[in-house]
């Protein structure tokens, strides 16, 4: 499968890692990539449901392009949000709707997480697409 350049880079970065600990470290580094949704903006609408820990995601349209803000208490969830940001920020809504969460699997990010957390990634991914669809 071919991916947008940013995602392709991300997949390669992860695939180069041999050790699980390092993979998680890199994942946490991606927490820097997400624009933080300030606590004041947390509400039931942007709450990620079915997630074990606290996570919020909000989608804005800036000049016709998707922009994501997010927050989470678990650093690795922030990392997943960072990766999602890279995947969607600056894309058109149509491009976002064409994406599938498989890229995270291909990168080995998902199988490195337990089912409940990788489900969490899918939940967040679905939420982003739903919000994008609503914003169109």
């Amino acid at each position: 499968m071919s991916w947008p350049v940013a995602i392709q880079e991300l997949i390669e970065e992860f695939q180069d890692i041999d050790e699980q600990f390092e993979r998680l470290e890199v994942l946490m580094e991606f927490s820097e990539e997400v624009e933080e949704l300030p606590v004041e903006s947390w509400n039931n609408h942007n709450l990620v449901k079915g997630c074990q820990s606290i996570a919020h995601i909000e989608i804005e349209m800036v000049e016709g392009k998707v922009w994501m803000k997010a927050a989470a208490d678990v650093k690795m969830v922030q990392g997943l949000q960072g990766i999602l940001s890279i995947a969607v920020n600056g894309s058109t809504p149509e491009e976002v709707l064409e994406l599938t969460p498989e890229f995270a699997e291909e990168a080995g990010i998902l199988n490195s997480l337990t089912p409940s957390r990788s489900n969490g990634f899918r939940t967040m991914f679905d939420m982003v697409q739903r919000n994008v669809r609503e914003a169109m």
Partner: protein
Amino acid sequence: MKQDFPIFSRLVNGKPLVYLDNAATTQKPSCVIDAMSEFYSVSNANVHRAVHTLAGEATEGYEKCRKLLKQRYNAEYAVITSGTTEAINLVAHAWGKHNLSSGDVIVLTEMEHHSDIVPWQMLAEKSAIEIRYVPVTDGKLDMDAFEVALEDAKLVCVVHTSNVLGVRNPVEDIISLSKAVGAKVLLDAAQAVPHELIDFRELGADFMAFSAHKMCGPTGIGALLISNDAFSEMEPFMGGGDMIDTVTLEGSTYQTNEHKFEAGTPRIAEGVGWAAALEWISNVDLEAHHARLLSIASDVAEQLKNRGMAVYSSLGPGDAAVVSFNHPTIHPEDFARLLDAQGVAVRTGHHCAQPLMDKLGVSGTIRASFYLYNDASDAEVFLSGVDRVLEAMA
């Protein structure tokens, strides 16, 4: 197929095992036994909400069982229980207690297993509910009487396929008649799922209960399938870990999916074993085997009649390959023990269906029940075993 089942390499009283007690429980293929050993040897951990690798694997293994159940039977919800009995009790407590009240009517039949009688008697006693039993005539449900009994019924509980007679009840008619009067329908499918593939949603029942151990799966696990409609009317049954959302000293809130009814550490290894059994059985042509076994059982029934036995099973198309019979004078227990001496396992007694025994006018029967791995040679050994018994007791 016998080579898939390690138990058939053993001898019983010096004779090769001929296992005809399948309605009580079935044997397990190697893949099921191995899946559980493998789980305990490689992935054993407690499930849910955990972040370490083993716990993830265990959760996946256990939840796979639920996924396969929902797929195979096309069910909205699949709650995992310890068996058919617990599944029916779950309905009595989680649905019955909250949706039935004084004067309401539950329709049962005279051919129910005790597991589909006693929970309702207990509920009825507490809440002054009326129970109506549809009579059995000539080994079949009296459908005219069923329609009469249905008046004002709120719940109909019927055994899909009888464990004594093997008879498959006309569940399609039972469900559509029940739905017409607005009654919910519970199917006791303990003997049905081993023999036929059921599309739960299409069939239109509200609850369907069955056990893994009667379909080549492990003991200690079973399921209750539930329709959307019925699920929304259920309150929690047992309380504990995993079924809650929040617990405070003032009170608790519950999960909204199946976990709401699965309190405590679930049957994890059993779920893994059942998943293996479900995968194994999905590669078996149930319909073909069913036809084959029914024909073997019908032959056996004929032969038994020829030898002066009373046979209670009619073995019509769709019925399970279960032959219940009695000798006019030999006590079932003597009969079965003399068969066992020849390596042949059959069951005797009331088969947890005393009301049906009362109806048949017997205290018990001898029951030979056939399953996938049984073949014509088993029937031959059984019949020559019968002949030796008759000779010895003449």
